[in-house]
Every structure is written in structure tokens, then in C-alpha cells.
């Protein structure tokens, strides 16, 4: 591991002033950054510890939404009564990730910016365009059982590992940030950049930006929502496929639906084609499957991950069926 300086910051202007150094990184819980530093994938010269910043609150907004500070831990997010009441799928998504220990350490800002778990990315001996631009992608012809079926290019087929961000994508969350020249905001669905031929450029955040929080707009439909994750063992593993869904059924027809998929792309995948296909359609298993097919028509499977297309289709039908039954109770 490269040697590094360490600074604790107590206010946002102090943080972004230090963050202007291109060799600096913000340190949240460290559960991803420290791991990657041990592997020499990340080699910062300075860590700016953000955990003492006054960004650890969850507050209702005037319009009835929620603002979640960037240093709120994953545990506190999932335990918060307003999150559980208004956006239950968000609490479920966070609880489905990592372990009790890691959720106590991990912060909201760090969770959004965690890097892919593609094994070649963390192995500096292998080619990887994301870690070392232009070196190639070892996964395309290698081990890619858990890689992308949507939005990937031959330059990178990695998936984003966050469960939390899948629920956030379904609920139209916005990421707020601060830079040395002022604040800014990005919709979560535009926060992660398309892969293109630049997989090393992952987000639309300006250089040195400090994430200050996430704003969730009011979404009555989110009160009937669910996150379901499939993994290779029952717990403490990353998703091989997941779905966040919210559903409003009136007289047997879909009035409003939100759908996002996890572990299928380099970013949480908001399934807008499926949402369009379902809105106004009867709330039946056939219609749910047809909507999933509408979204998955664009899927391009690799030799070893074709199962994900079926997996996501089945998950969509199962979760929407459960939500229809829940709404009828």
C-alpha cells in the first residue's frame, strides 16, 4: 500500500478545499476504499476523513420527501422509521447488502461510489480497462458469470454492486454534492455514466466533488414497494440479480409502477420500457412478464450469464405479483 496523509474534516468547505487535490480521496467507512488500497487498485496520497461532517441526518423535506445526509450509515438508513414507512424497498435493499458490521461502517456517499466486484478489476496482474484504460477487458473472454446483460460494451462488462442504489433509482433520487466552486445536483439515473469506451469514468460528479446527500422526492407509490435480491448463498453475498419495484393497482389495473434492476449493468437499471408497457395494463402475471420482456429485449448475454435474463424476468413477475397481493389486503 502506498503511504498517505490523513486529515479529519469538520465542515464541508474544509473538506472540498482539501478534495481539490487530485491525489486525495474522501474516506467514509473505508469498507471499499481501504480494501482497494490494500490491493493497490486505489493509491491516494491523502485521505480526507468525512465521518465528522455534519451530514449525518435524515430529514423530511418541505414537499414531503426525505433528505439523507452523505455520512448517514447504511444501518441508520435502514433503521429509520420514515425510510421504512415511505420507501420500504430502500430499507430492504440496504438490509440485503453486506453484513451488520459493514452496514454500521458504510456511509451513503461511499455506498454510491463503491467500485465493481469484477475479480479482474481487483487483480493488478490482469488487463482491465476500468483500472488501466486501454489494457483490454479480461472478463469478456474470461470469468463473467456475474457480469452485465444490459448497457455493456466490449470495453467493459462489469456490473455495479450496490443494492441501495437500485432502490434509489426506482424512486427518482437526486444526489447532492459540493465542490470548491459551489453546490450541484444530479438525478441518480444520470449519476452513473454510460460505459462507452471509457469504463474508467464512472460518474458525472465533477472532480473533487464531495457528495453531501441524497434527496428522495415524495412518491406515494413507494409505500407499496419491495426489493428482492438473488445471490449464490442465502446472505452476505453480492447480488446476481435484483429488482426494486413499487406498484399502485386500482381496480385491477396498474395505475403507477416503478421498476429498477440490480447486478445487470454498470449502473442501477431503471426499467422505463417495462414501466411504460405496464402503465394502464391489467395487473396480471402475463402483463408483468410481457413488461419484463419489453425491457429485456435489449439484453445481450455473454456465454456464461444468459441465466440473468430469465432470472430478472422471473423476479419481476414474482415481486409485482406479491405487491399486487399486498395492495389487495
Amino acid at each position: 500500500m502506498r503511504e498517505f496523509g490523513y486529515q479529519r474534516v469538520f465542515d464541508v468547505p474544509g473538506a472540498v478545499a482539501l478534495g481539490a487535490d487530485p491525489e486525495a480521496r474522501y474516506l467514509g467507512g473505508g469498507t471499499n476504499l481501504v480494501d482497494l488500497m490494500k490491493a493497490s487498485v486505489e493509491r491516494p496520497a491523502l485521505l480526507i476523513d468525512v465521518r465528522e461532517l455534519p451530514l449525518d441526518r435524515i430529514e423530511s423535506t418541505d414537499d414531503g420527501g426525505l433528505h439523507i445526509g452523505a455520512t448517514v450509515t447504511n444501518s441508520d438508513l435502514a433503521a429509520h422509521p420514515e425510510v421504512r414507512r415511505r420507501y420500504p424497498a430502500l430499507a430492504q435493499a440496504v438490509l440485503a447488502g453486506a453484513s451488520g458490521q459493514l452496514r454500521n461502517m458504510a456511509t451513503v456517499g461511499g455506498n454510491l461510489l463503491q467500485r465493481t466486484r469484477c475479480a479482474y478489476f481487483t487483480d493488478p496482474a490482469r488487463p482491465c480497462n476500468k483500472r488501466n484504460p486501454g489494457s483490454g477487458c479480461a472478463a469478456v473472454k474470461g470469468e463473467h458469470r456475474n457480469h452485465a446483460i444490459l448497457g455493456a460494451t466490449e470495453h467493459c462488462v462489469a456490473v455495479h454492486p450496490s443494492d441501495m442504489s437500485v432502490a434509489l433509482a426506482a424512486f427518482d433520487a437526486r444526489v447532492t454534492y459540493e465542490t470548491a466552486t459551489g453546490p450541484g445536483e444530479l438525478p441518480l439515473t444520470e449519476f452513473y455514466l454510460p460505459v462507452g469506451d471509457t469504463p474508467h469514468l464512472e460518474t458525472a460528479l465533477p472532480p473533487g466533488a464531495l457528495i453531501t446527500g441524497i434527496t428522495l422526492p415524495p412518491a406515494p407509490v413507494a409505500a407499496t414497494s419491495r426489493y428482492r435480491k438473488v445471490r449464490e448463498r442465502a446472505s452476505y453475498a453480492f447480488a446476481i440479480g435484483s429488482v426494486a419495484a413499487a406498484l399502485d393497482v386500482q381496480e385491477g389495473a396498474v395505475r403507477e409502477v416503478r421498476l429498477a434492476f440490480g447486478a445487470v449493468a454498470s449502473r442501477p437499471w431503471r426499467a422505463r420500457a417495462a414501466e411504460r408497457a405496464l402503465t394502464g395494463a391489467p395487473a396480471t402475471a402475463e402483463a408483468f412478464a410481457a413488461a419484463a420482456d419489453a425491457e429485456l429485449a435489449a439484453a445481450k448475454a455473454l456465454p456464461h450469464n444468459g441465466y440473468k435474463v430469465t432470472l430478472i424476468r422471473n423476479l419481476v413477475v414474482a415481486v409485482l405479483t406479491e405487491l399486487t397481493e399486498e395492495a389487495a389486503r
Binding site: Y6, K38, L95, A96
Partner: protein, 200 residues
């Protein structure tokens, strides 16, 4: 801008202050084991994947292998060496002893620290990934074997002592008056010593 890559820090461990110089690269786990001779905390994977290095930070469980020592300054650190009350074992330690919640014992300090905090998380009403309804209006989930397995899933045991670990955690949770809601009937049975069937 040149930054110092080492600092003299003071760590508050089990109620005692320890002042030591550290290279910033030092994890809390390595500081405990290699510098302070607190070797109860174990190193399994060193990557956050096994839970053997679990300690309590300000009362909450955390993996010390991904926690930088310098970033732990100012926090209250409790290791397995600090959970007992003098000669009186912590109820979770006693339950692991009574119900054989281990085989080789390597994962045990992490399991015990994790279970101590897990029982408090449940008492505070935190839901888990297997809680059927996470909404605050729903009845708080009673502690079942399924809930214990999910909540303890961040602690792996290479010996596979999980069956008795779940029973030991159940026994300790049952003994804890703060458990609201109380443990499930299934769990009370699991925690009871009559469960030692088959043993002559």
C-alpha cells in the same frame, strides 16, 4: 502539499487509553494484535469477508480489518478482552461456553462481539433482510432462528459450528430483559438445555 504519513494517536480500548505512533496504513486490527498485544481479535480474511476481526466501535459492531487505526481515534473501542465484567463473563460468552458455540474457537471472539451488538440492534427494533414487513407500524419481528442466522451472517465459521452458535445467541438473547419483542417460542425451545438431545 506534503502530508505526514504517520501520526501519534491515542486509542480508547476497553476503557483504557493507549498512545502510540502509527503509520497511517495500519488497520485497527493490526494495531490491536501487533502493537498492543490484544490478540483476542482474530485476522481471518483481512478483507471484510469473514467477521473474525469484529470489535465494537462506540458500541456498534464493526470489522477492524477495514478500519484504519488513525480513523478510530476518539472512538470507544471494545474488544473481546473487554466484554466481561471482571471475573464475571458476559452472558453471551457464558452461553457460548454452556452450549458449545464453537469448535476450534478461531471465529469465536468475532462471533461473541457480533452477537452482543446484534442482540442490542434487535432490542432497538432494527429490522433485518428476513423481516417480512419492515414498516414501523408492523409488529416488531420476534427473534427467530432465521432472524439470528441472517443477523449473524457476517460471521463465518470454518468449523461449521453454526447450529450451536444460533442456540448460544438464542440463550443469551433470552436472558436479556431488554428484548422487546421477546424471543419466539421456537427460540426459547432452541435455547433450552433440554435441546441437548442425543447426548448421554
Amino acid at each position: 502539499m506534503s502530508q505526514s504519513t504517520a501520526s501519534v494517536i491515542t486509542l480508547n480500548i476497553n476503557g483504557e487509553k493507549h498512545t502510540l505512533p502509527v503509520d497511517h496504513r495500519t488497520t485497527l486490527l493490526d494495531a490491536l494484535r501487533e502493537r498492543l498485544d490484544l490478540t483476542g481479535t482474530k485476522k481471518g480474511c483481512d478483507q471484510g469477508q469473514c467477521g473474525a476481526c469484529t470489535v465494537l466501535l462506540d458500541g456498534r459492531r464493526a470489522v477492524s480489518c477495514l478500519q484504519l487505526a488513525v480513523a478510530a481515534e476518539g472512538r470507544e473501542i471494545t474488544t473481546i478482552e473487554g466484554v466481561a465484567d471482571g471475573e464475571q463473563l458476559h452472558p453471551v460468552q457464558q452461553a457460548f461456553l454452556d452450549l458449545d458455540g464453537y469448535q476450534c474457537g478461531f471465529c469465536t471472539p468475532g462471533q461473541i462481539c457480533s452477537a452482543i451488538a446484534m442482540i442490542e440492534e434487535h432490542a432497538a427494533g432494527w429490522p433485518s433482510a428476513v423481516t417480512a414487513d419492515v414498516r414501523p407500524e408492523a409488529e416488531a419481528a420476534p427473534l427467530t432462528a432465521e432472524e439470528i442466522r441472517e443477523r449473524m451472517s457476517g460471521n463465518l465459521c470454518r468449523c461449521g459450528a453454526y447450529v450451536s452458535i444460533v442456540r448460544a445467541v438464542a440463550r443469551a438473547a433470552q436472558a436479556d430483559d431488554a428484548q422487546q419483542p421477546p424471543v419466539s417460542d421456537e427460540l426459547a425451545r432452541l435455547a433450552g438445555s433440554e435441546q441437548k438431545e442425543g447426548v448421554a
